[in-house]
């Protein structure tokens, strides 16, 4: 690995990094720490896509009140996606329908796709980071 430190390597082109978020928002730290990681990737000018899988979709629900269980409402970080240029946000159509979730319930616009399209999306990535 070349030069340590937090500076990205300007001469290296952006890589396509897909963050796969499959955990519900609370109960464990995965969701919250995944957002920190993908914002870091966007800050370092990588080509970031976000895939919400299964119960990971519950991260996107509006009107969360986790202070009732002594947790911070990290969904405010979703408001940074636009600022960080993160616009490729995906979910499986079946994961949405199985949970009865519709677009107006969610904090971010999600591109719904079938399994064949998902396979194509995954193949296009340089790396997949799972949380």
């Amino acid at each position: 690995m070349p030069a340590p430190g937090n500076q990205p390597h300007q001469h290296n082109p952006a890589k396509k990094l897909l963050f796969r978020l499959s955990k519900p928002p609370y109960g464990r730290s995965h969701a919250r720490e995944a957002i920190d990681a993908l914002l870091a990737a966007a800050a370092f000018e990588q080509d970031v896509s976000v895939l919400f899988v299964g119960d990971g979709l519950y991260q996107l629900l509006k009107n969360q009140q986790p202070n009732a269980i002594d947790q911070k409402n990290f969904t405010a970080s979703f408001g940074l996606f636009n600022l960080y240029g993160i616009s490729r946000i995906y979910a499986l159509d079946t994961d949405l329908s199985e949970r009865g979730l519709s677009a107006e319930q969610l904090l971010l616009p999600v591109t719904s796709m079938d399994r064949a399209s998902l396979t194509t999306l995954l193949r296009e990535q340089d790396q997949i980071l799972s949380f």
Binding site: M1, N6, H30, A40
Partner: protein
């Protein structure tokens, strides 16, 4: 020969994830691959503590990482934000936050999530253990 980076999200003893990450790292090195970085995030930061004291007849994973570093000059990086939240500190962080002790072994480095992004972007393969 591939350049490989590893992300470890599981704590020792509680989960098999970090043992699997260690065994994979050893196997990759034995096959002649370059392991560019091992990044400890989420509960994986618990791999990096001098205070873990397993019974003498059990495998000491923290020591095993330290020995691997000494043999192969591995880059063992611990996410500073995840570590501080979980009580994994080096001497300078302990002083900065007015804590009575510190526990990060000298073979591990505290740094930011940019190091994980860089490892994912610059390696041929990026593997996650402990999702």
């Amino acid at each position: 020969m591939k350049t490989i980076s590893i992300a470890v999200y599981g704590a020792p003893f509680s989960s098999q994830a970090s043992y699997s990450a260690y065994r994979f790292t050893c196997a990759a090195l034995a096959k002649g691959h370059q392991v560019a970085r091992v990044f400890f995030y989420q509960d994986g930061v618990h791999n990096a503590t001098l205070l873990a004291t397993p019974p003498q007849d059990e495998f000491d994973l923290c020591n095993a990482w330290r020995e691997l570093k000494q043999q192969h000059q591995l880059d063992l990086v611990v996410c500073v934000a995840a570590a501080l939240r979980r009580g994994v500190l080096n001497e300078s962080e302990a002083k900065r936050h007015d804590k009575a002790g510190w526990n990060l072994p000298p073979e591990f480095e505290l740094s930011g999530l940019g190091q994980m992004v860089e490892a994912a972007a610059l390696s041929d393969r990026f593997l996650t253990f402990g999702n």
